[in-house]
Subunit: 363 residues, 2 copies
């Protein structure tokens, strides 16, 4: 009987020190979260753009499939500021040609609210009581954190630098997710400029492990058990994997996203703000190259996300990679096609193998 | 009796799978290389800017101090192209204010040769016969590689992406250095745009280990035994550490470089081309911020390096960090002040400890 227990598995009540990363936009379906949980990892919902009623449905669906703990993840957004007509026009003009190319009606000015209200989401979460809650792109008010913890919910926050990790620890979270530069999706930076806080996972994990006393979860570029073993060697207490779960049968990622991920042979990811208004890493495509190249006008997050929604959806539906946000980390070429349960068990075996291989060096 | 033997230690004839990274510009003194070698690592000279006669003196000095193998490292430069007067003037104008600020005479147009001729360097190396030769920023002609190998010299090349690693393997090198995005100093990219080949060490190491059959050495952000154990967990056969050796007693880095490295508390490194003409990572300072910010005119590598030489030297001599190239990797805050021998032994113990800690997770 082998195990991989760490202070993180004790904290979260999981068998394995592995978190299936929250990914917003429909990727983290109840089937994915339940399968990851049943196999021993922590399944996570990316609820950034999910309304409270849908959150309730999602969590209830998982509860029907597993007793495993569930993680609900949220984006911390600055309150939306009014957008003037000129900015709307510029941002619309920048994407109108792509709408036309897909045969879509011309894009219209976006209207607030551009995304669900975080307070309303968190009020609902206090009723739903998932075992774990993580947040990204900022912090939560200390009062809210205390309330969540009083409900028995374990809380974790993302850090892209030592300063953010120390801030979260002082705020009272239970664990830190060290989001290295390799990570796919949105850069979680909020105390530093995200472009200046792009430290690689290996370096960042070690820096944060040395800086805080609470458990640290390494994230970014980890796709297999060798990567998980490396994270543990760095002193992390667990690893969070997102990209590895995207091609899973149960993942809600568009087929074109899965296909392009599985076809990657080199790190061809890049960072763009042009899909959502905040920098995020994904497989480079025509939209990212052209919009980044022209430094085209954009709205602030999450208004830009609302603006590009129809474009992304239509592109995905058409199986056209050009205008889909195909979020992926830098180790994308290591993506594998399997079920989530199979992936979690494979990760477990590979991690144990990597540890045994390492032990055999010390003879 | 413990050991950390891998296919790299067998190949190189070292006790430990640790390479003290080559660092040009006077950092890798004979005392540093000899101390690293005597302690069981592979000591390396950064000979990018070193004339053949000085190379001979350096290698002979180490031979007098140790029987350990020596690594000589070279930059592969494109042949210098003539620089027109306008470009010289623009590049001079961009730095003239800094020269004046340090009380230096106005900078003068630089003249070819801007750096030693690689062919002449390599001809000398065939006489000096170091046990190991590594190269950076390109490849070597197959004929030259064959000649070096026929002399019994083990050869390694830097790769920043899968394509470069595969190319080097096909060319016939003995090992690959996977230079992750965290790494300090010059980005080794030559088949891809260096800004697009900035994959973090954790992801890149795993990608390259999976792509080639020869031994892989992980480089970038590794500062202690936990980092070395992580590299080995990823399937690398060794780790190359540069920044960790900069503060060593025996290192020839300017005092201001050592001090600022030891004072780092956060990853404040950035990439600049403005010191040498090619992108390299170091601790951000006034020169980097202002020159990058203005995207100031620069000469091609290595002419820009020749142009900024007097500025860097005078700034270092004055103990002024503003105009020194303080190359450093993203894990700079983990730098420690000790002798090279002490560092190598500490790294060995820490690596074994990290492996034992990892083994204990699997109970």
């Amino acid at each position: 009987m082998t195990s991989l227990s760490t202070s993180l598995t004790e904290l979260l009540g999981t068998r394995l020190p592995i978190i299936q990363a929250p990914m917003a936009g429909g990727i983290t379906t109840p089937a994915l979260v339940a399968a990851a949980g049943n196999a021993g990892a922590l399944g996570s919902f990316g609820f950034a753009y999910t309304q409270p009623e849908a959150m309730a449905r999602d969590i209830e669906a998982v509860r029907a499939l597993t007793k495993a703990p569930i993680n609900a993840n949220f984006f911390v957004n600055a309150p939306p500021t009014p957008i003037d007509a000129g900015s709307q026009r510029d941002a619309i003009d920048a994407v109108a040609g792509y709408y036309a190319a897909l045969g879509l009606p011309a894009p219209q000015p976006v209207k607030a609210p551009y995304a669900p209200d975080l307070d309303v989401q968190l009020n609902m979460i206090e009723d739903l009581k998932p075992e774990v809650l993580t947040f990204h792109l900022g912090d939560l008010p200390a009062v809210r954190l205390q309330r969540l913890r009083a409900l028995g919910i374990k809380t974790g926050g993302s850090a892209t630098c030592v300063e953010e990790a120390r801030h979260l620890e002082a705020l009272g979270v239970d664990f830190i997710i060290a989001q290295g530069g390799e990570a796919g999706g949105h850069r979680g930076s909020y105390l530093r400029n995200p472009y200046e806080a792009m430290t690689g996972t290996l370096a960042l994990t070690r820096l944060i492990v040395r800086a805080v006393k609470i458990p640290v979860v390494a994230a970014g570029g980890i796709m297999d058990g060798a990567g998980i073993a490396a994270a543990l060697a760095l002193g992390a207490h667990g690893a969070q994997l997102g990209t590895a779960f995207i091609p899973c049968t149960e993942s809600g990622a568009p087929a074109v996203h899965k296909q392009h991920l599985l076809a990657a042979r080199e790190d061809t990811t890049t960072i763009t703000e042009k899909f959502s208004g905040k920098p995020a890493r994904g497989l480079a495509n025509r939209y990212m190259r052209e919009m980044n190249g022209a430094n085209a006008p954009q709205l602030a997050f999450p208004a830009q996300n609302a603006l590009t929604g129809p474009l992304r959806a239509a592109s995905a539906k058409a199986g056209n990679p050009d205008f889909v946000s195909m979020w992926a980390g830098q180790a994308a070429p290591l993506a594998r096609e399997m079920s989530a349960a199979q992936l979690v068990i494979t990760l477990e075996h590979e991690t144990l193998e990597a540890i045994e291989r390492l032990s055999s060096l010390n003879r």
